[in-house]
């Protein structure tokens, strides 16, 4: 059995303190193997980004509480590291690609400066070697003239080029894991295809594990083999993409799928075919959070909470799955 590149178990996040605190991530556990891409889908506000930020340890220390059993990267628990040790991990072993490349890059430094700074921080302080690594990374994401990109400021690049540069920055230290948070949402559809293609290529080349966060099932299907569905802070179904599309087991997943009018060409979807509304995180119902909207619910759904087997690749948190 291989050691998973990323193992998250029992991750929970609360916002606020004391009695007022709201749980936004509830006992999230999953494994991602090297070279594997796993999608994390759900509506906005369901806790996807919170999960990612918590894995990286980027949540503010005040007003937010995080607890987990462990978070392992290549078998090494990084959840108990102190700040200085954690800094060594971030960008070297695990890197993040953000949704808005326009704001996620520093406007007053060139792309080259920003990428080589990451390399020099983690791999090699030598200026020249960092420069070479930076150029190589830019080339590996498909830029034909990496020197030009290196000298450009973010505002001089198009959205797609910025995101490719961001990917080059993520890949410059060849991390074991990358987390991509809606990396294509801000881009048009032709650029989107290019970015997804590049991500897959790089993953295959370096055996990088990827956690791909999106609200868009179509995009996830294009880029990931496995998928996890999140609802109100909990993972409710884990399976592979093929299976989800052909045979979704959780009623919420099924509802999500039916909201996609046409595969591939999806717009940020309104979940119109699921009756009712997402419950407020401040007062979630006990038991299955989906019970009030579920047409298969029965009394026990609100009495006890359906769980899904923690580190398995497949599972469903439902008492009466489809």
């Amino acid at each position: 059995m291989t050691v998973p590149a990323l193992r998250v178990s029992g991750l929970s996040v609360w916002i606020g303190s004391g009695a007022d605190s709201i749980q936004v991530v509830d006992g999230v556990s999953f494994d991602i193997d090297p070279g594997e891409a796993t999608g994390l889908v759900g509506e906005s506000g369901c806790g996807k980004t919170m999960t990612a930020m918590a894995i990286l340890g980027l949540l503010p220390s005040t007003g937010v509480r995080v607890s987990c059993d462990h978070i392992e990267i290549n078998g090494r628990d990084v959840s108990r590291l102190n700040t200085a040790q954690r800094r060594k991990v971030l960008g070297r072993d695990i890197a993040m690609i953000f949704q808005q490349p326009a704001t996620a890059l520093d406007p007053v430094f060139t792309m080259g400066q920003q990428i080589s700074a990451v390399y020099r921080r983690h791999a090699d302080g030598n200026q020249r070697r960092a420069h070479e690594a930076m150029l190589a990374s830019l080339e590996s994401v498909g830029f034909e003239r990496p020197e030009e990109i290196a000298q450009a400021y973010p505002h001089e690049l198009s959205g797609g080029m910025r995101q490719l540069s961001m990917i080059a920055m993520a890949m410059v230290c060849k991390p074991a894991v990358i987390i991509a948070d809606e990396p294509t949402t801000a881009l048009d559809s032709s650029t989107r295809a290019l970015i997804l293609h590049q991500l897959q290529q790089l993953q295959a080349l370096h055996g990088t594990a990827m956690l791909f966060i999106s609200h868009d099932l179509g995009v996830v299907r294009q880029s990931c083999r496995n998928v996890m569905v999140m609802y109100c802070g909990r993972l409710i179904e884990k399976t592979d993409c093929q299976n989800l599309f052909s045979h979704a087991r959780h009623p919420y997943s099924a509802g999500l799928l039916s909201c996609i009018p046409q595969l591939g060409a999806t717009r940020p979807g309104r979940i119109s075919s699921i009756p009712g509304q997402v419950p407020a995180l401040a007062d979630l119902p006990s038991g299955c959070h989906f019970a009030a909207r579920c047409n298969r619910s029965e009394p026990r759904c609100s009495e006890s909470t359906p769980v899904l087997d923690a580190q398995d690749k497949k599972g469903v948190a439902c008492f009466r799955p489809l």
Partner: protein
């Protein structure tokens, strides 16, 4: 909205203490106006530079006037200046801001903007001194100088707000049902900006009191009566001889009042800041 603000203010210990301090001073000022306190500010009731005693709590000044009485009276002066300047400049700023916001991109807007730019560009004390000198002899010179310079920030706020609300279109709706334009501005915009105005007003108040002190000190301020600024001006010579009565009394009173206002302004701003970070 008002109630909510008040609720937040009440739960903020700093803001509340600021409010209390300001209220106490205002009470003192009211008592002076109604003749209950500080009436003996001009009487020579003792000998020069008396120390602290039961009769003269804060001692006496150069010619034997009671410093406590003068400090109390100075409170009234401070409020007089502060209130006059704050009210007038807020009104002026509101009208100017509303006009230039409503007719934005017109020549009127251009002129008002230009005027604002110019006024902001002239170093204030130079300007105030010039106005005070130009209106020489008028006891209102100082007030005028402050009013004509302090309205600009208020006007900027109101202008921005008017433009913002104008774009939101519900003014159009109001116009569609027959309310004339500028009147609508006052009906709809002002209630929405009242809070901003309140914060700005307390900032202006602080500036006014501060400026009064400095101008009085330069001999361009209060002409008759007594103010903390005049007391400090007096004290600047006395302290060299070791008589701290004036300095301590006026300095402390001034500090407390300014502090009260600053805390209040901060608390108001916090209470009004709806973009509270919940992340």
């Amino acid at each position: 909205m008002m109630r909510e603000t008040w609720q937040r203010l009440k739960s903020d210990p700093y803001g509340l203490s600021g409010l209390i301090v300001v209220s106490v001073f205002f009470l003192i000022a009211s008592c002076v106006w109604s003749g209950l306190l500080g009436q003996g500010w001009y009487e020579v009731s003792g000998t020069r530079w008396e120390g602290i005693s039961a009769e003269h709590w804060f001692g006496t000044n150069l010619i034997g006037q009671d410093i406590l009485q003068r400090t109390l009276f100075g409170t009234a002066t401070a409020f007089e200046v502060g209130l006059t300047v704050t009210i007038c400049s807020t009104l002026l700023g509101t009208v100017m801001g509303a006009l230039s916001g409503w007719y934005n991109h017109s020549w009127l807007d251009e002129i008002i903007l230009w005027l604002k730019g110019v006024l902001d560009a002239i170093p204030f004390y130079l300007f105030a001194a010039a106005v005070a000198f130009a209106l020489q002899g008028s006891p209102w010179a100082m007030h005028v100088a402050m009013i004509v310079t302090f309205w600009t920030t208020t006007a900027r706020i109101i202008r921005g707000e008017v433009i913002r609300i104008k774009q939101r279109g519900f003014i159009e709706a109001a116009r569609a049902i027959g309310l004339p334009g500028l009147k609508t501005v006052f009906r709809h915009v002002l209630p929405n900006t009242f809070h901003l105005l309140l914060v700005q007003a307390s900032i202006v108040f602080v500036a006014a009191i501060n400026t009064e002190v400095i101008l009085s000190f330069l001999g361009l301020g209060i002409q008759d009566g007594v103010s903390w600024g005049l007391m400090l001006a007096e004290s600047s010579q006395e302290v060299l001889a070791g008589h701290f009565g004036n300095f301590l009394a006026a300095g402390t009173a001034l500090f407390l009042l300014l502090m009260g206002f600053n805390l209040l302004a901060d608390a108001l701003q916090d209470a009004l800041d709806s973009r509270r970070i919940v992340r």
